[in-house]
Each structure stands twice: as C-alpha cells, then as structure tokens.
Amino acid sequence: MRAPRDRVALLGLAVITASVLLAAVAPALAPADPVKNDLLARLTPPMWMDGGSAHHPLGTDTLGRDVVSRLLYGARVSLVVGFSAVILAGALGVVLGLVAGYYGGRIDDALMRLGDVQLAFPALVLAIAVLAVVGSGLGNVVLVLGVTGWVTYARIARGETLSLRHREFVEGARALGARDAAILWRHVLPNVLPSITVVATFSVARTIIAEASLSFLGLGIPPPAPSWGAMLDEGRNYLTTGWWLALFPGLAILAVVLGINVVGDWLRDTLDPRLERGL
C-alpha cells in the first residue's frame, strides 16, 4: 500500500505547486483583465461549445468578464487567505498552548476554558457575526479565520508540553539555567512541530473552503475582486443559461483542496502516525 500513497501525495504536491505558480504569474497568463466588463460578450460559453470563442477558453460571466482570468486571480485570494490565516492561527495557538502547558495553573485553566467557549460557536457562525460588525474584505477575513482558529493548535501544543516538561532533557536545560522562553523554543517546540504541521495542512484546506463559503454568502472578498466563492455566488443564479459559471470555480476549489488533503494524509502517516485517521 505504501507506493501508491506516495504517488498520490506527489500528485497532490504537484497540484499545489502548480496552483501557487499559476496564481503568482496570473497577470502574465490571464487572457483578459479579470474585473473588466464586456457586456457585448456576456455569457459566452466555453470555447468548445457553439458560440464559444478562443478569446475566452472557459467562457465569460454575466458581465462579460473572462472566467479563466478570474479563476487565475481567484487562486491568489484562496491561497493567500488559506495560508496566512493558518499561519496566524498556528502561531497564536502554539504560543498559547506552550505557555499553558509549561506554566499550568491559572493561565492554563483560563486559556483552556476560553477554548471551550470558543468551540461552543460553530466557526462559520462566529465568522459571519464578526464580519458583520467589522466589515468584509481580505484582511478582515484572514484575521477572523486566523484568530478563531487557535484552539486546536493550543490543545495539541499544550498536551505535548505537559508530557515533556518533566522529561530529563527539559529538566536538564532548566538546571543549566536556561530561560523558560529558550527552553520552550529550543527543546519543546521542535517536539510539537510534527503534529502541528499535520493539523495545519488540513487547516489550509478547510480555511480555503471557509473563505469560499464566506465569499459565497457575500461576506468575504467584496466584488468585483475575483474570489472562487464569490464567482459561485454569481453563478448560482445562472444555472440554466451559464452552467460553466457554477462548475469551474468549484472544480478549482476541489483540485487545490484535494491536493492539500492528500498531502496532509501523507504527512500524517509519515510524521505523526499517532494522530487519528479519518477525522
């Protein structure tokens, strides 16, 4: 079973690399301006269909904007939000988890109870409510998804720290007079990182879907900026006349998220076999 898994993971990695590259060179590749309207060319079908045009390989939307160009630029939004929100959540969660696990006592209690309260909210509901107050936009979406994502990382980091803090190499470092921050950084953190990397990988996938959901609901990236979720929102009213508007952005999300998930599976098996499968 080993070899096919590796091959699938490699394929996933290729998909991720390709999407990052495509997003990076979007301005050079895009056949048209992603936000420029061209009402005469509205709802042009993909090029292989009757009425399609080579200028618009995947057709145009209801304002005549080129779908390929919007998909390429939309990749930027998905990837930027996915990665930066997860980095923010991971950094926040790991620091809080290390502190909670290392010092224990009241700090630990307070942080863990805070985590309990946070988990009482469905993530999407909390994000919607906060964005309703602070307003939508790329920065706010990253902040909201990042700040609300800390709990899982904190719990993992805390658990690992609890089991490590009385081990010989940590006691030894302390006896040698190392400062707490140095002990956490040099001796505890490296032991926490494998599990965190696995969880973070799956989180990028989930965050990309969360951003798409928020943009689909009109609370994420405001128009006319191209976001895959927002494109699906525009497409859903034209299922009978412009099915391609609902199909392609979804396929783009599926490809990138699937790629990340299979890499995550592989990382889990390789780095941290103890983590539960299938959850």
């Binding site: 109870r113 805070l114 309990d116 309260v117 009482a120 909210f121 469905p122 993530a123 999407l124 509901v125 909390l126 919607i128 409510a129 906060v130 964005l131 309703a132 107050v133 602070v134 996938a205 879907i209 798409a212 959901s213 689909f216 609901l217 009109g218 609370l219 979720g229 699906l232 497409g235 859903r236 299922l239 009978t240 099915w243 609902a246 199909l247 952005p249 979804g250 999300i253 599926l254 998220v257 699937l258 998930n261 299979v262 499968r277 299938g278 959850l279």
Partner: protein
C-alpha cells in the same frame, strides 16, 4: 455518576456564560453599538435617542449585568428590519425549517453508514470500501454549497426538473438539501465505522462467538458492532454540530426558510438583534448536543467518566 453529571452541567453553564459574554461584546467591537443598532440612514439625533432608549448610555458593567439576566431568557431586543422580538423570529425559522433539514440529514448521515461501514469492514478492498474511501476524500475537499449547486444542475436542470431546485414544504423539496448536507459526514462515518469494526473483529470474543458456531450476522451485529458503536456516538454528535453550521450555506443555496438563511439575510441590513439572537441559539444548540453526547457516552462507557478530566 452523579458527580460526573454535575461536573458536565457546571461546565455547560460556564460555557453558556462565556457565550453570552461573547455575544454581548460582539456588537461593541467597533465601540458604538448604537450606531450598529439603528438604520444605516439614521441621523445623529436618532442614534443618540436609540442609545438612550436601549440603555446604551449606562456604564458598561450595568449593561453587561442587564444582558446577563435578559439574554439567557431569550430577550435580544427587537429586529431592526421587522420590528418584532429577535429571538422569536429566530425560533420561527429554526422550527420547523432548520430542524427538519438538520434532522433529515442527520438520519441519512448516521443510519446509512451502519450497514455500509460494516460491509466495508467485512469486505475489505471491495466496492463499498473503495467507494467510501474516495467519497470521503472528495466530499471533504469540496464546499458543500458547490455540491448543492451541482446536484441542482443535475436533478433540476439537466434531468428536466426531476427534483425542485429550491423552496420548502414537501418531501420532494427536502431531498436535495438533506442529501447535500449529509453527503460529507455520511462518507466520513462509513470510514469510522469501518475502522472501528476492523479493530473489534480482531478481538478474542469475536473469535469465541464464531467458535461457538453463531451465525456470522449475529457475530457481526450483536457482538462486534455493539463494541464498535461507542466512538460512533461522539461522531454523530459532531455530525449534528456540523449539520447545524452547514445549514447556513445550504439554506442559502436552496432558499430554505431556516435560521441559517435568516442570519445571512440579517447581515446586509445590519439587523444586529437578529444576528445576536441567532448566534446565541446556534451556540446553545451546539452546547446542548455536546452535553447530551458526553452524558450518553458516560452512561454507556464508565471509562469515559474517568478519562474526561484527563483531556
């Protein structure tokens, strides 16, 4: 057992207090809740009048204590758009529309995986095993609302209106939204039951049951599945939580008149009493589901009572 129940209950009460506090501070994130609680076109005098009318000019701690006593009773003020009590509106949308959708999806996602998961475990690398593996990988990698759009495209558009694309009222209207909502957790639950069964099937008591000459069906469902069912309970609870938040996007896709769609529609109109009430109810349902699952788990498996403090 009583100590365990009491501890869970105290914890739930604490979480409710935390939830109320978060909802209280939510509208104060930007500093001036009065500006959020009036119409977007309101003049400065109107904002001031609202501030006074709602008691927002009082010291923060007075407002907080007031909120702590009124919110748990469901008093979130009056909807800005409809001028009706916000919580009543939310409840009207929760029951029956959202409850119907979530329960239908839950039944699909919890009942169907039982036979499928057992088959996947007893016929490893068979059709059901492979399909459920692929299904769970793919369904977890797509937004549920996109699956909904594709199902509409297939059943309502391509197949000439075999099933209605939106609306509410009949069983036919329920099929597409419930299937969309149930699909991802369904596939995942098949995998979970499968791995639970595979583990249990290796145990001695299963071998003993077989050696006694019991029929294979009896061995599998009576002896093995019962012991594999424990984690499944937790997962069902998680699935229900997932369904509740999933209703937000799914209700929007299918124009389902539930509380998910209500909260989404309340945002552009900045109808904060409704948003607050809906967020509160969502969180309460979450807490209730978790409490029930924990208690059931404690009843079924005494070990869970001891271990639950360790995590």
């Amino acid at each position: 057992m009583r100590a365990f129940l009491l501890r869970r209950l105290v914890h739930a009460v604490f979480v409710v207090w935390g939830v109320v506090t978060v909802v209280f501070f939510l509208v104060r994130l930007t500093g001036d809740p009065a500006a959020l609680l009036v119409d977007a076109t309101a003049t400065r005098e109107e904002v001031a009048r609202t501030r006074q009318m709602l008691g927002l000019d009082r010291p923060l701690y007075v407002q907080y204590v007031d909120f702590l006593t009124s919110a748990p009773l469901g008093d979130f003020g009056v909807s800005i758009r409809e001028r009706r009590p916000a919580m009543r509106m939310v409840l009207e949308h929760f029951w029956p529309a959202t409850a119907q959708l979530a329960l239908a999806a839950l039944v699909l996602a919890v009942v169907l995986p039982i036979p499928l998961g057992v088959i996947a475990a007893t016929h490893r690398n068979g059709l059901v095993d492979h399909l459920s593996r692929l299904g769970s990988l793919f369904l977890q990698s797509m937004p549920s609302f996109w699956l909904g759009l594709m199902l509409i495209l297939l059943f309502a558009v391509a197949l000439g209106g075999l099933l209605p694309a939106f609306g509410w009222g009949t069983l036919r209207h329920l099929i597409l939204p419930a299937v969309t909502l149930a699909a991802a957790p369904l596939a995942q639950n098949v995998r979970l039951i499968r791995s639970g069964m595979l583990e249990v099937l290796q145990h001695d008591y299963v071998r003993t049951a077989r050696a006694k000459g019991l029929a294979e069906r009896g061995v599998i469902y009576r002896h093995a599945f019962r012991n594999a069912a424990g984690p499944f309970l937790t997962v069902s609870g998680l699935s229900l939580g997932f369904m509740l938040s999933g209703t937000i996007v799914i209700e929007t896709v299918f124009s389902w008149p539930g509380m998910g769609r209500l909260i989404v529609q309340a945002v552009p109109g900045r109808d904060f009493p409704v948003i607050q009430a809906a967020v509160f109810l969502f969180a309460m349902l979450f807490v209730a589901v978790n409490l029930v699952v924990d208690v059931l788990q404690g009843l079924l498996d005494p070990r869970a009572r001891v271990f639950e403090d360790a995590g």
